[in-house]
């Protein structure tokens, strides 16, 4: 069983992550994390009429980091951009289930990946 419950969403999304990969010509890219802390998340979004119509991710990091980004993509697909901006890491913690406190930073990083992607999109639009 190990440190994460076998039946948890954390293990499910770690062993079978959804929406893995890149998007060709993405409308937004969120790139967060660094090698020093051992977590790097790349989030790609396809946006149409202010709505996220597709999301893909690639993550270098621990089980919780991979699961967090996988869950994030599932949460934001078909979400309005404004609603997506309000998404907090707490929602990811809720879905993951049994998350030890020292893994919360993985969910926070995923939230930052989303915010960074949306900001990237808004900056491109304003140009």
């Amino acid at each position: 069983m190990g440190c994460f419950a076998e039946e948890s969403q954390l293990m499910e999304h770690f062993l079978h992550p959804r929406n893995v990969g890149k998007i060709e010509n993405p409308d937004a890219i969120g790139h967060v994390g660094n090698v020093v802390c051992g977590d790097i998340m790349d989030l790609y979004l396809k946006i149409k009429d202010n709505k996220i119509i597709d999301a893909k991710f690639q993550t270098y990091g621990c089980a919780a980091a991979i699961a967090s980004t996988s869950i994030l993509t599932e949460l934001v697909i078909n979400m309005d951009l404004d609603k997506a901006l309000e998404l907090s890491n707490k929602k990811i913690v809720e879905v993951l289930g049994d998350v030890p406190k020292h893994k919360y930073h993985c969910t926070i990083l995923a939230e930052q990946a989303l915010k960074s992607a949306i900001e990237n999109y808004k900056n491109k639009k304003n140009k």
Binding site: V20, V35, V36, G38, G61, C62, I66, H102
Partner: protein
């Protein structure tokens, strides 16, 4: 599900023969070894037999062995005990930068009490720099502590040469100092140690690393060397370590030590063959992988590899899900985010340190366990590399 344990450096199961030897001392031979009646004395006699068994493992005299609660207490006692035995709490301590925290923390404790502490650097193979040791030695140096082999990446340190350097220095300065301590927690069962031949002053051992029970270790202190007791109270261990003896633990340690001594040569041969097979399999079958630590001057049971583009803890959890137990130098599995200090001190780039896995083999490891591991590891690495934001092809390893 098949369960395969490959984390023998973390701890080992109690050997059935060790358990059998301990059992009477958990049942009817329960006396306090300090009691004068027969209940006590029969326990005391058994403790003395065990003490000799542990001493034999390193060719020490039985009076030179004190039992502790484990390797950590032995290391604490060695460092603090030597410095606090001096008239004045001062002087200089040299430790290697790759010591276990059970040496680094007491060193920090001493540093906070005005003892000068210097850390010996290591090369990219994890071996300490002997020239730097020569540079660092001063008249005020009281103790040098270098582990016999590193628990994480297995590099065996040149302790015979270190002792020679120290003895030269003592002769030149006509001094008893510095003393030499070595943490042999990982090596006592894997490398033949003769404390008289090498002329070691202090040495730490731990029972649960050699198929003995947890909660018992030993500190070897060369005849004539004075230490301030770490734990005070009664007069046990020749007034050097108070507390009613952990008789069952001690008897278990003795039996485990005796077994380790008997099987060492052939067991090492067997382990080295398995170790080298595993190393070659991983390096050949999985691209962009690297062995960490000296390839030859290496503990017989240690395999530490870095797998580019995948994080260590993710690998560990995925392997655990398949019933395989190992360990990692990646930070995510501890409370800080920085990876293993040992791997970083060897000069490993941080992402390579974060991508490390350690497999340590033991008495019950079979070739087919390792074949199963490699099969699973290949699939896991493929899967995780596909998910990764770091592309293995672009990483220099």
């Amino acid at each position: 599900m098949k369960r395969i344990y490959l984390d023998y450096a973390a701890t080992t199961p109690v050997d059935p023969q060790v358990f059998k030897a301990m059992e009477p001392y958990l049942k009817n031979i329960f006396g306090n070894p300090s009691s004068l009646h027969e209940f006590g004395q029969e326990a005391r006699r058994a403790v003395q037999v065990a003490r000799q068994q542990v001493a034999n493992l390193i060719n020490a005299d039985q009076e030179e062995i004190i039992f502790t609660s484990g390797g950590t207490e032995a290391n604490n006692t060695a460092l603090k005990g030597i410095f606090f035995a001096k008239e004045k709490l001062d002087g200089h301590l040299i430790v290697s930068c790759i010591e276990h925290h059970a040496v680094l923390e007491p060193a920090k404790f001493l540093k906070n009490r005005n003892i000068q502490v210097d850390y010996l650097p290591v090369d990219s193979n994890g071996i300490v720099n002997l020239n730097k040791l020569k540079d660092l030695l001063r008249p005020e140096t009281v103790l040098v502590s270098v582990m016999h082999a590193n628990n994480e990446m297995g590099a065996i340190q040149p302790i015979e040469e270190i002792v020679e350097i120290i003895k030269e220095y003592r002769k030149k300065n006509n001094s008893l100092y510095p003393y030499f301590h070595t943490d042999a927690v990982q090596t006592a069962s894997h490398l033949p140690i003769d404390v008289k031949k090498i002329d070691i002053d202090l040495l730490s051992m731990s029972a649960h690393k050699l198929y003995g029970p947890k909660g018992i270790g030993a500190l070897y202190i060369k005849q004539g060397i004075k230490i301030a007791p770490f734990i005070e109270g009664g007069e046990q261990e020749d007034k050097r370590r108070a507390s009613t003896e952990n008789t069952p633990g001690i008897i278990g340690f003795g039996k485990a030590a005796e077994m380790a001594r008997e099987e060492m040569v052939q067991e090492n041969k067997r382990l080295i063959e398995l170790r080298d097979w595993l190393i070659q399999s991983i390096l050949n079958k999985i691209p962009k992988t690297k062995l960490n630590g000296h390839p030859a001057q290496r503990l017989s049971n240690n395999v530490n590899v870095s797998i580019a583009g995948v994080e260590g803890e993710a690998l560990l959890i995925a392997l655990d899900h398949e019933g395989i137990a190992c360990s990692t130098g990646s930070a995510c599995s501890s409370e800080s985010l920085v990876p293993s200090h040992v791997l970083l001190k060897m000069g490993l780039p941080v992402e390579i340190a974060h991508s490390s896995l350690r497999f340590t083999l033991g008495r019950w490891t079979k070739k087919k366990d390792l074949e199963y591991l490699v099969k699973k590891l290949e699939l896991i690495v493929k899967r995780l590399r596909n998910v990764s934001a770091l592309k293995a092809e672009e990483i220099e390893i």
